[in-house]
Every structure is written in C-alpha cells, then in structure tokens.
Amino acid sequence: MAPLVFMKEIRKVYPEGTVALRGASFELLEGEVHALLGENGAGKTTLMKILYGELRPTSGEIYFRGERVSFRSPQEAMRRGIAMVHQSFALVPTFTVLENLYLAISSVRKVSQGEVRSRAAELGKELGIEVPLNARVEQLPAGMRQRAEILKALLLEAKVIILDEPTSLLTPFEAEALIALIRRLRAKGVSFVYVTHKLREVKEVADRVTVLRKGLNVGTLQARETSEAEMAKLMVGAAVERAKRRPPREVGEVVLEVEGLVARDEMGVERLRGVSFSVRAGEIVGIAGVQGSGQRELAEAIAGLRRPERGSIRVRGVEIAGKPPREARRLGVLYVPELREEGLALEMNIVENSILARQRGHARGPLVDWGSAEERARGLVERFKVVFGSLWDRAAALSGGNQQRLMVGRELSSRGALLIAHEPTQGLDVTSAEMVREEILRLRDEGMAVLLISSDLDEVLELSDRVIVLFEGRSVGELRGEEASIEKVGRLMGGAA
C-alpha cells in the first residue's frame, strides 16, 4: 500500500537565501502518529508548511495516496484532507470560535453558519472536544484555542492533521488532554504529524519518529523501540547532559521584596491575590503553578509593565510598584518576558534588537552608537548561537528558537541585580535550553538574584534554591530546593493543601 503522504527530497531556499531544507524526505502512513523531531531551525515547520501548501518547495516531489500533488494554497491542501495547526495559532482573536470555524470552512466549501454550529457541537460531543463555540477566541486559554483548531480540522474532514509544536503553549494538564485526544482521533483513522523538539513527547504519543537535522532527515525510528538518548544523538549529532543542580555558594542581601501584591489581567480578572515573597542575591527562586495562576501578572508587575492594585514591590529597597519600566531597569532588573513579541521588536533588525531596553546605554549624546550596538549584537549571536543570515535581517525572519536565544541572550549578558526569567527556555532545543540554564546558574553564582517562572516543572525543580507554588493568585507553598519533589509541588499546583 502506498503511504498516505510521501515527500521526496524536498529542498527549500527562502528568498533571503536561507537554505531551510536540503533534500529532506518524509513518509506518513495511514492511521499513524508520526513525530517529526528536530532542533530549532532544523526545518520542521518549513517542511510541514510545504505539505500544507503554505510554502512552495524549491525542488522535490510530494505524493498524496500515491498521486503526485503540488498544492498552491492551504485551501487546496485542505480540500484533500490535510490540515495544519500552527505553532502560534491562526484564529482571528476578535471572532468567536464559531465565527472562526465558519470562516475557515466556508473558504473551502459552501456551508451555512447554522450547519457549522450543529456539526461542531455534534463532533465535539462525539470526540470529547470541549470548546465554547460562542466565546471570543482572545478570551480562551491556549489549550482551548488549540482544541478549536483541531475541531476546525475535523470539520474540514481532515485525514491528516499536522500539529506544530502543539504543547509549547500548554499547561501539563492541557498537554495530557491533547495527547488523549490524539489517541482517540487516531483510533478513528486520522493520521497525525506531530512536530516537536521534546524527546519525551515522542515516546508518549508517536508510533514512528523521523528526525530532522539541518534540513535533512537523519533517521526514521519506531518510537517504542528507540530511546531518548538515541533520538537526542540523532537530533544533535552528539550526546547531551542535563545540568546538575548545584547549591548556591552564598546567599546575600534581599534584592526583591514583594508584599501583598494584588493585580488584575487585561480582562479585569484578579490574577494575583496577595502574594508575598523575597529573593536574595545569589539565589534562584522558582515560581511553579499551572498556567494562569498569576505568573504573567507577577512578572509584569515587577518589570513595571503592569500597575498592581495593591501591595508593594521593592528592588534593592526602592519601592517601584506602579512605576514605569524605566525605574525597574535603572535598579538593575533584567527581564525575559514570556512573549517574544514583547521582548523583541520583530520588525526591526538583530542589531536594533540587541540594544532594546538598554538603548540609552548605547547612545553618544542624542545619537545611537551603532558601532557599539553592532559589537554587542555580534557578541550575543556568537555566545548564544543565534543562527541568522545577516545582522541587518529583521528579527521576524529568525526561527522561533533563534528569536528566543537572541532575547534571552540579550538579558542574560547584561549587568544587573535581579533577573526575572519567564519561560526562558521556551521553544528551545535540548542543547540551547541546557546552555540557558547553565547561564542562569552562572549569573546566580556571580551574585544575581533570580526569579524563575516556568511551566516546565522539571526546569523549576532543577534550578531553584527555593520554590514558591502559585495557585489561583496566591502562594500556597514555599519549599526549599532539596525538599521540593515533583509530587509535592504537583499536589500544591493542583490546589491541594
């Protein structure tokens, strides 16, 4: 039997000249979950966008059920039953879920909104995909948005669903639900391409795995028979080692002191309900909690980007609650935000982004000292291994992982007293994530106070000298690093006393 999808020796050169794929092949069988594994920038997204008709290959052939195809648009791919859920979702945020579904389906075939509604409700019930059809997308958490996208694919009668880094924005619980859903749909005959750079997920969800390295497929394995070590080796071409946690050398004075902090999100929901804690020089305090427990509001309030309702935030003894971000920066606060589009001006080039938030330090009188900015950018991309075409390329042209390395690198290579690192390794491959963790430990050892906020519980436990668990905007537990176990923290995250 011919494979459902066969992509043969696909090459893709982007207009700027980046060679993203150098003859990669990929095969998907009917009814399988096939993981596509690779480091950031390996070309996974590019390969799948080509299958989905969003990009055209420079050369190579694509076969669908044995028949040569060449899709000119996602609509054409969707008509053949191929759907893709992007890394950053493609729903219109101000529309309701139903309107989004209707928008997508009516672009492929004639249908009424009523039909879409009843079919969506029916399918949703049958497959256990709970999505509030009348809610506006921007109000939904990431997990829901993703389910809405999957529902959209199913309404389009997709036979192949491509999920691009589907868990990168999900909480552990949402991720579990997603994997269960994939299993249910596979049982109904839907095939999946599961794009990821997380080794653990491959073992959990996939039947087979194809590893992509630098634009080439370097191996296809049975997921059950392989090991994480084997996959990692294929992926990076060398073995990697997890960072060992090491205790702090010495803890200094209090750098950050948060007291009774109350803050609301954009929708006016009270997200922080009286949080108090402190961070000393030379220690890492980790914040654990399911997504939406107030992490974002906490980070933003300290960075000066969100005005708290009540409470105080002192950095090196200076009250900064409600003060503009400049104030925090002046006191030596470094901030890795959760969202790249906040920490980077994506339309501006790498040099310009290298001095973002410290532009005044690269000024000579009223002029920008581009010489020193460029020097900084060069140092940054080298040290943090940012892969780029030219320093004058827009940051938007970098792959997600490279954007993350650029942003994290900029903050970590600055002088300061307090680092707020929110999801610092998000979207990074194993090697880079390890490097970033190493750098954070190094900064701590040099006496920086670090507030680490991460949805990767392993990461929090591995790095933190103290762990604070947030639940519904309150701190429900504070554990010393060595007493914080997955079980204990997990229970607290779930709201258990």
């Binding site: 945020p93 503009p324 971000p325 400049r326 589009e341 906040e342 980077l344 001006a345 501006m348 581009w370």
Partner: protein, 322 residues
C-alpha cells in the same frame, strides 16, 4: 534594494500600460501622449525642482509619524497653515518667514499627536477635520486680510523666495535630516520601536506618548515647510487654492512609493513631479483633459505604492495581529 527597484520598474510599466490603454480608449495617440509627458516633464530642471521640493517635504510629513505607527494625513492642513503663516510672516521677516511656516506646522502636528496620545483621539479623523477647517481658514484669510490690492482673486505676494534650486536643496537636506533622525538618533530608534511594536516599546521603557507627540510635531514641521515652499514658488495663494490643494495628500503617495524611506522619497517626488508637469504639457500639446493627467498620475501612485502598502497591511493588520 535590487528587488525593490525591479518591483518599482515593473509597477511603473504596469501603470504606463494602463495609461496607454486609457488614452487609446479615449481616442488619443497613446505613444505621443506619454512621450510628451515624459520628455517635457523632465525637460525643465528648474521647474521640476520647484514642483518636487514641496512633495519631498509632504512625504516626510507623512513618513515620520508613520514610523511611529501613526497615519498623518494632516500634511494637507499643515501645508495650508505653513503657507499662510509664511506668506504673512515673510512680509516683515523675509527669510525668517520660513521658520514661521515650519513652526506653525509643527505646533499643529504636535497638537494632533497630543490629542492622540493623551485623549485617544484618532489622528486620522482629527486630521480630516482640521484639514477642511484650515482650507477655509486659509481661503478666508486670503480673501479678507491678505488680498492683493490690484488682483482681488489672490493674496499679496510672498516677501521672500528661495528660488527653485535652493528649494530642492532645502528639501533634500530635510530628507537627509529625517533619515539621520530616524536611523542615527536615539529618538529615531525609539520612534521606530514604538511604530513596529507598542508592546516592545513598553518593554523597553520607551514612552509611546512622547514618541507620538514628537513624531507628529516633526511631521508637522515638514508639512508646514511643504506649504511654505509651494507658496514661495507660486508667489501667492490664489482664491481657489488650486496650487496648494493636494500637496499634502500627494505626499502620502510619494512616501509610499519611496518605501517610507526619506531618501527614497526624494527620488519618488522627482518622478511624480515630472509626471505632473508632463501631464500639463500633454494637455497643452494634445488637448487631453486635465482629469486625464490626474488619472494617470493617480494610477501610477496607486500601482507604485500598492506592493509596499499591501506588504505593510498584511504584516500589521493580518490574522492574529493585535
């Protein structure tokens, strides 16, 4: 750069093809019409400079606020005000009147910027209202206070004139200054960060309101200068406002054709100025109606700026954009 140029060349070819078809359909000799337009249009460097100089400035008036994420269509009103104040001030102050015209534009722009920054008033709507108000204010002033004693249909003469070559030089220097401001100064950097992402600007501790006010004020300054240079060359404001009208609007097209780059605006202003002048020759030589010139110039602006404008729209207002 090469891609950009070839894109412009292609668009230009398309615009010309369309114009030829239009001319043919209306019964004119397309080849000789367009030949007239382009040979005569660029035949008189001094006149070309005089028409192009204000366009360079009105393009800058649009472009600087545009880089801060705002849409300044108030260049038109700024030009009226600049022209009026220059006309008045140059009577006694001579060359210093130029500063009066520029300053008036800057204050007006800054005001609109402040309305937007502090009261959330949309700058486009505010500008449309102000444009029309100033249109009539200028008309009124010309026919009531500054009327020429012998020719009642127009204003008194300006008290100072630079002459065409120096006008263009001034415009080119302004473009260079705008370029340096945007790409060499801290202020320009901050303006561009605000324009490319308000969130990133907040993150970087940049005051977006300050950027809005300053960029609009600088835009207004150029808008005021555009009007100043225009009236300076014409010598007076006539009671139909025919010379001034459209200078600001055309600047938007000039800026977009020049890909929102100050230096690109100089090139595109020269191109459009040549076509406008050539259009008048076409009217004289071949008897084509003036509206036809407008259509041809308008089409060219549209076709030439469309690829770039579209790219901006798709990037900024596309799905998932906030």
């Amino acid at each position: 750069m090469i891609a950009a140029l070839s894109e412009v060349a292609l668009a230009l070819a398309a615009a010309l093809a369309f114009s030829s078809l239009l001319l043919l359909a209306l019964g004119y000799d397309a080849a000789s019409s367009l030949l007239t337009m382009f040979s005569y249009g660029f035949g008189n460097p001094e006149y070309l400079a005089a028409v192009a100089a204000p366009l360079v400035l009105s393009a800058l008036a649009f472009l600087i606020p545009f880089k801060a994420g705002m849409f300044n269509i108030g260049g038109e009103g700024q030009a009226y005000l600049g022209a009026l104040l220059f006309l008045y001030a140059s009577q006694g102050l001579g060359a210093l009147g130029i500063a009066a015209g520029a300053l008036a534009g800057a204050l007006l722009g800054g005001l609109v910027g402040a309305l937007r920054a502090f009261l959330g008033v949309n700058e486009v709507i505010a500008s449309i209202m102000i444009n029309w108000t100033l249109f009539y204010v200028t008309l009124f002033s010309v026919s009531k206070y500054l009327t020429h004693p012998e020719y009642p249909h127009r204003s008194i003469d300006v008290g100072f004139s630079l002459g065409a070559p120096y006008s263009l030089l001034l415009a080119a220097l302004a473009a260079l200054a705008a370029y340096a401001l945007l790409y060499r100064t801290l202020l320009g950097y901050e303006i561009r960060v605000v324009g490319s992402s308000p969130r990133a600007a907040a993150y970087a501790g940049i005051d977006a309101r300050r950027a809005a006010v300053i960029s609009m004020a600088i835009g207004g300054l150029f808008g005021g200068l555009a009007g100043t240079l225009k009236v300076m060359y014409v010598g007076h404001i006539d009671a139909t406002m025919s010379a001034l009208f459209g200078v600001g609007f055309l600047g938007i097209g000039v800026a977009l054709i020049g890909r929102a780059n100050p230096l690109g605006s100089v090139a595109s202003a020269l191109l459009l100025a040549g076509m406008i002048i050539g259009g008048h020759w076409m009217e004289l030589r071949l008897g084509t109606p003036p509206e036809l010139t407008d259509v041809i110039v308008g089409t060219t602006v549209l076709v030439l700026s469309a690829p770039y404008a579209l790219k901006l729209l798709l990037k900024g207002g596309g799905l998932g954009g906030g």
